[in-house]
């Protein structure tokens, strides 16, 4: 009798464990793409999941532009309702709870005339605990807490990805600044030399004309 109960306990715990493993599969997808005018992504979300998303503009193709290179992002739910509307930002991070199950659309719009490289990450936490199938009262709260821990760790990984993308952007800005400093200095020196040669030449011509006129 005791032996049979023991096996049953172990089996249902194993089943619950596998369910938890399957269900709390942290789906995080970080990708980079080049946006021209508009780019849309869709993601299927289950009911009740918290969806975290972030984006960072890594670089902009135009080299001598001074305008803000931000993009717009519109998040729409499965029934077409607008969840988030972000305008003209170079990086942002948000989350929302999915009250409807279905396909959520993330649409980016690029307003500047240059191509921009964008890093987009979306992470949907799954919370499917089929409590009615776990017969064991000892393991249930433990698995629940482990699930929460897993969720927290996946969140940390998501935020790290965002931080990494921002660091990439900063590295590119830094390198541009360094190269720009050298180019600016060289151009300035060249411009000064050309300007003074021009000055000398114009003065010579002026006086030669005057001298020529007065001597004749």
């Amino acid at each position: 009798m005791k032996f049979r109960i023991g096996i049953q306990m172990r089996l249902s715990a194993a089943v619950t464990a596998v369910m938890v493993i399957l269900c709390s599969f942290g789906g995080a997808f970080g990708i980079r793409f080049v946006i021209d005018r508009e780019e849309c992504f869709s993601h299927k979300v289950e009911y009740g999941n918290t969806v975290h998303f972030s984006f960072v503009v890594i670089k902009s193709e135009g080299s001598w532009h001074y305008s803000e290179d931000g993009v717009d992002l519109v998040v729409k739910g499965p029934n077409g309702e607008q969840i988030h509307d972000i305008r003209d930002k170079t990086n942002d991070k948000h989350e929302f709870v999915a009250y409807h199950q279905g396909v959520y659309r993330f649409c980016f719009t690029n307003k500047s005339p240059y191509h921009e490289t964008l890093d987009f990450d979306v992470h949907a936490g799954h919370f499917l605990y089929h409590d009615e199938h776990a017969k064991d009262e000892h393991f249930k709260p433990l698995f629940e807490h482990i699930g929460k821990l897993e969720e927290a760790l996946y969140n940390i990984q998501f935020e790290q990805h965002w931080l990494e993308a921002q660091t990439d952007r900063q590295a590119i800005v830094n390198e541009k600044m360094s190269r720009g400093a050298i180019h600016k200095a060289l151009l300035e020196s060249a411009a000064l030399i050309v300007a003074s040669c021009l000055q000398v030449y114009i003065l010579r011509r002026l006086f030669e004309r005057k001298l020529g006129a007065s001597r004749v």
Partner: protein
Amino acid sequence: MKWAAARDLLALMLVIAAVMPAARGLWLELPSSGPKCVSEELHNHVVVLADYYAFYGENDDLNNTVSPTISVKVSSPYGNDLYDKEKVTHGQFAFTTTEAGSYQACFSVDGDSHGGKTVTVGIEWKTGISAKDWESVAKKEKIEGLELELRKLEDAVQSIHENLNYLINRESEMREVSETTNGRVAWYSIMSLGICIVVSVFQLWYLRRYFQKKKLI
């Protein structure tokens, strides 16, 4: 018996997970001509597993009997082709990175006889820690349930730690670049000023000589 029902549900979920590989992934719409490329920055020695699945329309209706064919090309940062397949509807590719850099996957629609329907491709990819094959680890080390979950968490924490180290190194490199730029800006400003002064002195000397030669001074 309750746990027989649990087993059935589990089997059903496994079947669903196997049949719809990219149902959990990100979907993107392919233009009717030209490739659409997505990329990711990866470190060295990272395992990458990816599934892709093409379908018509904006929702994956399981009633669709017709599926579009696409061509897929995955390239490494140095331009080598890691995976190249044409006229496929769904597939899988896996590789281990041998160099750090930007890995790109390009999808393009085959032909143009799709009758104006939008072709969507679902991509699901796992890199590094999430691509680890836990079933084989569980079987090899004979752990299950709670212990397996905790092992996964331990691996996740380790990968977070590694990421953090990488970020720290990145930050120190950037700091060095910033400081060099700062030094350079200072030196180049002084150089510019020096050139300005030298050139104007030269101008003065030249003009004086010129006017003296023309007996104006």
